[in-house]
């Protein structure tokens, strides 16, 4: 396997974790977040600081996970206060605030970012395997959550908070849980990203990146784990496979996002489902 293939597969794995975790917040629980990049970035910076200080991989991963989740739960409190579209605005704000804050902090490397992060000692291929294992675990966890009582409660809250409350579901607690879990995984992805690049700047976690993650979720089919996984893989590989797409990446992502919402709000998962039904003739 060439170094190029190893790096592409690593990025695919990271994006899968990010998209699946965003889908838990926005898909399962209906809390639209356009600031997922901030939690990803918080995890990446936490892991970078931990690696520079201790060079311990498990410690860095724990730091990434906890930092992402803590920030996520704080932002999650916003979801208790405001309506869905204003939550989206708040999360956009969180993303700009995160990059705006990090760029000015000398202890976070400012504009220059953090470089010279010690390697994990696993090599590029080892890192890739670790990323893929975490991605597989995230996907399995997402399927598990979706079938559990918690997944049911998430969907109930996402569909209709008032109705969920009459079933005795504490909507606020479940929203916080969705944010806590989803952003912990985003933080974890940030840690893995730090291991992968060994060099991070705030630019990698900007709002545009968050929009691209949301595009993966919506295009795959919001709420569908398998749809989101396929979209994350497809949309990450597309710019690599087609030169045109690489130059016009945002045009393609934005265009697909608009087209899917407008023509097939259920995303590719819903299209696939209706095709299966048509083929079976039921």
């Amino acid at each position: 396997m060439s170094a190029y293939e190893v790096s592409i597969i690593s990025i695919v794995g990271i994006n899968v974790i990010l998209a699946v975790s965003l889908n838990m917040i926005s898909g399962f629980c209906g809390q639209v977040s356009l600031g997922h990049g901030a939690f990803f970035g918080a995890g990446a910076y936490a892991a970078a600081l931990a690696m520079v200080a201790t060079a311990s991989v498990p410690l860095a991963l724990v730091a990434a996970l906890v930092t992402g989740s803590l920030l996520g739960i704080i932002v999650g409190f916003a979801s208790l206060r405001v309506r869905s579209d204003f939550l989206a605005v708040t999360t956009i704000g969180v993303n700009f605030l995160f990059t705006g804050f990090v760029r000015k902090q000398a202890w976070l490397g400012g504009e220059m970012g953090i470089s010279g992060i010690p390697p994990t000692g696993l090599g590029a291929a080892g890192n890739m395997i670790m990323i893929l294992l975490f991605a597989a675990a995230t996907i399995a966890f997402s399927f598990y959550v979706s079938r559990s009582w918690m997944g049911f409660a998430f969907r109930a809250v996402g569909e209709d908070e008032g109705a969920a409350a009459t079933l005795g579901i504490n909507a606020g607690a479940y929203k916080l849980a969705a944010f806590g879990i989803g952003t912990a995984l985003a933080g974890l992805a940030g840690g893995l990203y730090t291991f992968f690049t060994q060099f991070i700047t705030a630019d990698a976690f900007d709002f545009i990146f968050s929009v691209m993650l949301m595009a993966m979720v919506v295009i795959g089919g919001i709420g569908s784990t398998s749809g989101v996984v396929f979209a994350a893989i497809g949309l990450t590989l597309l710019p690599e496979a087609i030169r045109f797409v690489n130059n016009y990446r945002l045009l393609v992502y934005g265009g697909l996002l608009v087209l899917v919402i407008r023509l097939a709000p259920g995303g590719f998962a819903a299209i696939a489902r209706s095709l299966v039904i048509r083929v079976r003739g039921t």
């Binding site: 956009i92 700009f96 929009v211 949301m214 919402i261 407008r262 709000p265």
Partner: protein, 289 residues
């Protein structure tokens, strides 16, 4: 004197924000949609102003052209994107709007280039006046005058003319207005047309101010405009004006007081988040979040 210079900058930037954001406020008031793609209209207005001004040699013609083109674009956004999405939750049209903005931004980059376009002749931005030691540029004066004219005009239009009164009636009680013969669909088009034309004016003025239009021109401003309309109490035109001026001044002074630990562009969002958490209904209490 330094502090007064900052105030001049803050007020002129605030006036630009106000003219830019009022379209967003109007759309929110009528349809409860956060029209993020308004920034694409703003950017289109800036591009058209520069390109027509360069081609014809007249900056005034550039502004006229952009005021003619952008309402069509704004109405097309409503017809093709928002109208079919009105039946969904409000975050659905908003995400579509973000998608459209990202798409348009890349389209501007592809069509007009990464470096952007500039005025060939822009005597405006180099003309300055000196009032007792305070330097004010011609374009800053123009921005403030524009804001005064726009807001006075909007006030007169919505209180003194039949169309304006019908518009206001539709915003507050659409069904009753419709039963009095006001066509709600026409009101929506009017809304997008006026908001877009104003965004184009603001876009052209920013182009004059920076003497540059690049693909990212609408980007940060767009999200700031979201912050402004929330701070202004959602759907309130007066609130938008106040919030814009406050933000312009806070940013202007903020760069010297908090600039060491926070990016200038992040200040608006800090204010936005704090306000949403403390008072989800905005400054003025009108509307709900």
């Amino acid at each position: 004197m330094y502090y007064i210079d900052l105030a001049v900058t803050g007020i002129s930037i605030g006036c630009m924000y106000a003219v830019m954001s009022v379209g967003l406020t109007l759309v929110y008031g009528l349809l409860r949609i956060l029209h993020v793609a308004h920034a694409a209209v703003f950017a289109l207005g800036a591009y058209v102003t520069v390109l027509v001004a360069d081609a014809s040699g007249s900056i005034a013609l550039g502004f006229l052209a952009s005021i003619a083109v952008t309402p069509l674009f704004g109405m097309a956004i409503y017809r093709l994107l928002y109208e079919p999405l009105l039946k969904y939750r409000p975050d659905v049209p908003m995400i579509a709007s973000v998608g459209l903005l990202v798409l348009m931004q890349d389209a501007f980059r592809i069509v007009f280039g990464e470096q952007g376009v500039t005025f060939h002749r822009n005597a405006f931005s180099f003309t300055t006046f000196n009032f007792a030691g305070i330097t004010v540029s011609a374009i800053q004066i123009a921005i403030v005058v524009t804001a005064v004219v726009v807001f006075t005009g909007l006030h007169l239009f919505t209180t003194r003319t039949r169309i304006g009164v019908g518009w206001r009636a539709t915003v507050s009680k659409p069904q009753i207005a419709a039963s009095f013969g006001v066509d709600p669909i026409k009101v929506r088009y009017l809304n997008f047309a006026i908001g877009s034309a104003l965004a184009a004016v603001a876009g052209g003025q920013v182009a004059l101010l920076n003497n540059l239009v690049d693909p990212t021109i609408g980007f940060v401003v767009s999200y700031k405009a979201l912050a402004i309309i929330v701070l202004g109490g959602l759907g309130s035109v007066r609130g938008t004006l106040v919030a814009s001026l406050v933000l312009g001044l806070v940013e202007s002074y903020g760069t010297i007081f908090v600039g060491a630990w926070l990016d200038r562009d992040a200040i608006a969002f800090l204010a936005l988040i704090l306000l949403l958490m403390i008072r989800p209904q905005g400054f003025t209490g009108a509307g709900t979040a």
